[in-house]
Subunit: 243 residues, 2 copies
DNA sequence: CGTCGTATTGAAGCGTCTCAACGTGAGTGG
DNA sequence: CCACTCACGTTGAGACGCTTCAATACGACG
């Protein structure tokens, strides 16, 4: 049953951060879930909404983005299975950005009320979820650096390495290759670059033999060189809970 | 006594978010504080540190920044009295960026252990502090948009309006004027722009009669026009706890 | 009164944008 | 099964915002 699979994924994800005891586990498994399927490019929640549920990605990829003046759009994050992109809506009641699907998605919706009740009773789970939102913020900080300071090619390399590194933690990569159905326009919206220029930057990366990017698959050929070019230090992802 | 003043400021700040009861208040007032003074441009904590205390700004201004390759630096946030810039270090144990003073500062250091103990016993305080870190993240998101999408002049206007709007909440402005001891280099490091170009952008803003910026004071002449130019919508600051 | 950090100005160069045309591949309907 | 469509990727050319370098001006401070 899909609900159980989703809950299992959630338990697994949170167990990676802290040693949950049986009561914590039971509290998680008691969460009421609503499973929903969505097609590509559908809005999940929009800016200005006051959602009463959080959304966990079970399958597929989700984008967080913000509309700026003149119809421009900034992508703020790419989310993978296991992520809860709008966890912050638990305490920030009006959404200041929007959530939409990139690909076909399976989503699990969890009522705020149930999460809040759980958090009050189980401080360790509160801590684990809080930490999740803090890592979110750490990634935002790195994106500010990326967009603000790095050259075009370095920015792109950094973004791709981040996605790769995070996907590796859920076992969704294989020898530097991973599925990621992104368009050049979306890449540009994530790093503040026109899609035309994205195209040229990708050609440079390809010409250097660093990576290949095609129909919804990315292959990294030379991770070491790419990391150097990107000025990539994965500390900001806080993957090790001991740190 | 300075400790009491600092605690009072903390209580006031957190009371603005939620209705604290007497027990919450007492728990806050029982926090052990160490007051420290620092001169301008001193490092408070550095990237890679594992702090065992959080730092609250009592007086003065604090900068969060991250070093990028080639000695470049990105400023991530400007912090004002009442802020706790490294609250995230409670659960993200290794610092991925650094904290330093802009001006002369009075800081109050609170041990993590004391905060953690308080949080476990008083869920409402946990919620209020969690919310604080979520607002932090919301501001980071807006900065990504700012640096990624807006034109130079719009970016600068947005930054200044953000500082102004936040300072207004603590009563540190007067008719559009406020003290803020920032250099053009720092402004540039915050919005991803060379200090030379910052200078020219500020001249444009001055020439349009929108604002004046001089020796540690900024004066906004035409807030309406400035907001329009900046594409500024203060929703992202989440100043109203009901929203 | 000299020094040092910051602000200001000019000029050359380049990274990136915009506009516009064209190529390509997947999906759709006649 | 082919023609059509549509979204996405690719290419070229010109314009412009911004950077860098370098020189000069200003203002606070010892």
């Amino acid at each position: 049953m899909e609900k159980n699979a989703a809950l299992a994924a959630l338990v697994k994800r949170l167990s990676a951060t802290a040693a949950l005891n049986d009561e914590d586990r039971r509290a998680l498994e008691a969460l009421p879930l609503r499973i929903e399927r969505k097609g590509p490019n559908e809005t999940i929640v929009a800016s200005g909404d006051r959602p009463s549920l959080c959304c966990m990605v079970v399958n597929g990829f989700v984008i967080r983005s913000k509309a700026v003046a003149d119809g421009r759009r900034q992508i703020l994050a790419f989310h993978q299975p296991g992520d809860i992109p709008d966890l912050q809506s638990l305490y920030l009641h009006v959404l200041d950005h929007e959530l939409s699907t990139m690909s076909e998605c399976v989503l699990a919706f969890i009522p705020h009320a149930a999460l809040r009740a759980m958090i009050t009773r189980r401080p360790l789970l509160a801590e684990v979820l809080w930490r999740d939102t803090l890592i979110d913020a750490a990634i935002f900080r790195e994106w500010i650096c990326n967009v603000g300071q790095r050259s075009g090619i370095s920015r792109m390399a950094h973004l791709i390495l981040e996605i790769y590194t995070r996907l590796k933690t859920i076992g969704a990569t294989k020898d530097g290759a991973f599925r990621f159905p992104v368009t050049q326009l979306q890449l540009g919206q994530a790093i503040g670059m026109s899609s035309v220029h994205v195209n040229r930057i990708l050609q440079e990366l390809r010409a250097e033999g660093l990576l290949q990017i095609g129909h919804s698959e990315i292959v990294i050929y030379d991770e070491r060189k790419l990391r150097e070019l990107a000025d990539f230090d994965q500390l900001y992802l806080h993957l090790d809970p001991a740190l």
